[in-house]
């Protein structure tokens, strides 16, 4: 089962590399100029991207892999703290909205509207308030992560079986007990769906928050940097993207692992 899954993952990875390299070879042979001209700058070889990781990042400097690893750790800290802030705030807001029709009607439109304000507009303000640093990056990342958590918490808390609510009433259970012993456990699948979305969003949020906070030490800084030198070393940017993707996958995996430990329930489509 486990071996099968690993094989599937490898096969998909091989397929993707095959597509990339196949299209590159095909387009180069035919000199296609649409949608863009394909060469080693626009589409470097996959092995060049991976190989770049093991080249020095600058003359006599450390390996690129080393530099990117440090950058990923730096970004991971802001992303993780941002994820936690967003998850806790999003959950609390969802609980509040679920308990008051008035709050839900009054506040929810603003919660939704908050997500239409681009992060580019929010980031400079937060940097001004909190000073440039990893904490302001974390707060910006949390701005991206709380929303799915709020919406799914609200939905999940309301998904409790109405007869189970009746039973809790018949035991004369208070609101607090109904919340923690029935509604929150019922909301867990919804909550974890949101947390998975948020986990990857927090990495993206931290990366795009770094340049406005003028932080050079993270993956965001590395992306801006390698963007400037793209023409001379395209594989560096692609290598950075790999590392960023791995970080996102890692966050996703952490949440999935937590879900498997915390949520014990019927396998889908059983019972």
């Amino acid at each position: 089962m486990r071996a099968e899954r690993a094989l599937t993952t490898l096969a998909v990875l091989a397929g993707l590399i095959g597509l990339w390299e196949g299209y590159k070879a095909f387009a180069e042979a035919l000199h296609l100029s649409w949608p863009f001209r394909v060469n080693d700058v626009t589409m470097p070889h996959v092995w060049d991207m991976v190989g770049q990781l093991f080249e020095p990042s600058r003359l006599n400097g450390p390996l690129l892999l080393h530099v990117l690893f440090d950058a990923a750790l730096y970004t991971a800290r802001s992303a993780f703290v941002g994820f936690l802030i967003g998850a806790v705030a999003g959950f609390a807001l969802g609980v509040a909205l679920a308990h008051s029709r008035l709050l839900e009607r009054g506040l929810l439109p603003y919660v939704v509207a908050s997500q239409t304000v681009p992060i580019l507009a929010i980031a400079p303000m937060i940097v001004i308030w909190l000073k440039a640093g990893w904490l302001s990056v974390a707060v910006i990342a949390s701005y991206l992560t709380f929303f799915p958590v709020t919406i799914n918490t609200l939905r999940g808390l309301k998904s409790a079986d109405p007869r189970a609510v009746d039973l809790m009433r018949s035991y004369a259970a208070g609101r607090w007990d109904v919340l923690w012993k029935l509604r929150v456990p019922s909301a867990m699948p919804y909550l974890f769906t949101a947390l998975k979305v948020s986990a990857t969003a927090s990495v993206v949020g931290a990366i795009i928050a770094e340049p406005p906070a003028s932080i050079q030490d993270g993956l965001g800084g590395a992306i801006v940097n390698f963007n400037q030198y793209y023409l001379s070393s395209p594989a560096s940017l692609w290598a950075t993207i790999f590392i960023a993707a791995l970080l996102g996958i890692g966050f996703f995996g952490l949440v999935s692992g937590a879900e498997r430990i915390l949520v014990s329930r019927a396998p889908e489509r059983v019972a």
């Binding site: 007869r163 035991y171 012993k181 329930r265 059983v270």
Partner: protein
């Protein structure tokens, strides 16, 4: 489970007392129609009785059960449970409720499902686990305490649900078609088990069902209801000997009573509201 339930009614007071109760559901918005779900309901259930409510769909039997359990409010008429308003009885933990679906919590083991009402009532861990062990024995599920509900069959799930309802020794057990979703064999076996549990726990049972045979087999009295608006059209005393056994199901008296209830259900227009005392009709 020795002795009577601690929440038993004061001496002499009926377990359930309803007089001239009605329930109207009002639709929302302007021009919404009203549905008279229940009208002119009189019902008295004595401690230790097993009373079934039977009637066609839409006769309001589930609504009546929910009103007794303070899950719905009557539009008019008092509902007294153990000589208290239904609301007070609910707060005092007088009700154990079993629905058609077991409504178990997937994320809790069998033992923790049964312990849920005890947790809410503030029992300590030792008392809880002792009671859970007793209840598992009562419903014949010893050894399944660490299973999750989705690992059990439908009949076993319903037994867990009964154990949960009885865990805190409520005076009144309200059951809304508890065996309606089960196959006939399981249903008959659970009927026997329910009677055994009823005898041992000495609680009062109000039982909603679609099945005439089930109602007659289980009950001391059967309240026959009619629809639109929901009314109690007659109450049939079931004078079959206790305890009921598999022999009861082939007793000629059993068939007579089934026929009586069936006639009541069909010929609603005759002698409305008359309390039938159980003689077989000519």
């Amino acid at each position: 489970m020795t002795g009577g339930p601690p929440n038993a009614s004061p001496d002499g007071a009926p377990a359930v007392s309803i007089r001239g109760m009605s329930k109207v559901f009002r639709g929302r918005g302007r021009g919404a129609s009203e549905v008279r779900a229940l009208e002119d309901i009189d019902l008295e259930v004595h401690p230790g009785e097993f009373v079934s409510l039977i009637g066609p769909s839409g006769c309001g039997k589930s609504t009546l059960l929910r009103i007794i359990g303070d899950l719905e409010q009557p539009t008019t008429g008092p509902v007294l449970v153990n000589a208290k308003p239904a609301h007070q009885a609910r707060v005092d933990g007088d009700y154990g409720i079993v629905f058609q679906d077991s409504v178990l919590y997937d994320w809790r083991t069998v033992a923790r499902n049964i312990a849920l009402p005890l947790e809410l009532a503030g029992w300590d861990r030792d008392r809880r686990s002792q009671r859970v062990t007793e209840m598992l024995e009562l419903v014949d599920l010893t050894g399944f305490e660490h299973h999750h509900p989705w690992q059990l069959s439908g009949g076993m799930q319903q037994r867990v649900s009964i154990a949960r309802a009885l865990s805190f020794s409520p005076a009144l057990l309200l059951m809304d078609e508890p065996f309606g979703a089960l196959d006939e064999m399981t249903r008959e076996r659970l009927n026997m088990e329910l009677l055994r549990i009823w005898e041992r726990s000495r609680c009062t049972v109000v039982f909603v069902t679609h099945s005439i045979a089930e109602a007659v087999f289980l009950s001391t009295r059967v309240a026959v209801m009619s629809a639109r608006p929901g009314r109690i059209r007659g109450i049939v005393d079931v004078d079959l000997p206790q305890p009921r056994t598999n022999e009861t199901r082939v007793d000629p008296r059993f068939f007579e009573l089934v026929a009586t209830v069936r006639r009541r259900l069909r010929g609603m227009e005759d002698d409305a509201g008359v309390v039938v005392t159980g003689e077989a009709e000519a």
